[in-house]
């Protein structure tokens, strides 16, 4: 339970940009595989932005490191939860219209 809470704490701070961009792709092009690819690309983008530009010393990650959560685990979680949200929205849209 504690671990899930930590994962969602990380998710809460990082979900917006990849999800917004992949939803934009979904709404403007209506092509799900492309929006999943956008989601994967933007998730990687924010990871590399944090790693190589914004937080080179991993200062924001030490809290998670101390609790045995690696960057790989955190960003994978971020990707999959966003993908679940994306798929749910896609199904919702198809069901409504």
């Amino acid at each position: 339970m504690k671990k899930i809470n930590l994962y969602f704490r990380f998710y809460k701070n990082n979900f917006a940009f990849p999800l917004a961009l992949s939803l934009f792709t979904l709404f403007s092009l209506g092509f799900m595989p492309l929006s999943v690819m956008t989601l994967a690309a933007t998730t990687l983008l924010i990871w590399f932005y944090q790693k190589f530009i914004n937080d080179k010393k991993n200062q924001t990650l030490y809290f998670y490191y101390n609790l045995r959560l690696t960057a790989l685990k955190l960003y994978t979680f971020l990707f999959f939860i966003n993908m679940i949200v994306l798929i749910s929205i896609n199904i919702g849209i198809k069901w409504m219209f």
Binding site: N58, F63, N66
Partner: protein
Amino acid sequence: MDVLEIDNVELNFGIKKVLKAIYFNAEKGKITGILGRNGCGKTSLLRIIFGELKPNNKLIRIDKKPLLTPLYKKEFIKYLPQFHIIPNSVSLQSGFHYFNASFTDFLIDFPNYKTKEKHRFSDFSGGEKRLIETYIILKSDAKIVLLDEPFSHLAPLYIQKIKELLEIEKQNKIIIITDHLYKEILDASDTLYLLKDGWSRIIKSPEELIHHKYINSL
């Protein structure tokens, strides 16, 4: 888990050789202090032990058994870096909960925090955050504790309290500590190493620090 050894550490930043030949061991029941000038590689060494920084070469052994996995992926190590680690949105009580440290024990040592259990970390000053984080890391269920400048920004009374806690916690933990407040390190440590020119040297008496030009006088 009684002895942590680190050997053959080599770390380069570009062409600069920061750590060349480091060996030291830290034992349960003893506090191991590391001293050294700014930029000599103390923090890098702790990051290497923690497993977050990959050097060119290193060998870590615990109870004589080599360990290849980064230690932070194991449950038994906690590291307090120089900066604040607990996010500002976390409440004081949750901070203790995440690290399996007792908030009740904390209130016994620091009763002035009794009314602040619901406060978020953003509500505390830099010194208070340092105190709380040091306490949480030290009192967590870890078997190896790495403390990078735990005394910085702390009031003298709090430094004394942390030193008392170190004395208690060392019975069950391997504790490695570094700080620029060398008198506090000299006082708290049972084994002391000096990092200089990329090498580690064991320090048997405070006078050796003058000999190695770390300080001018005691």
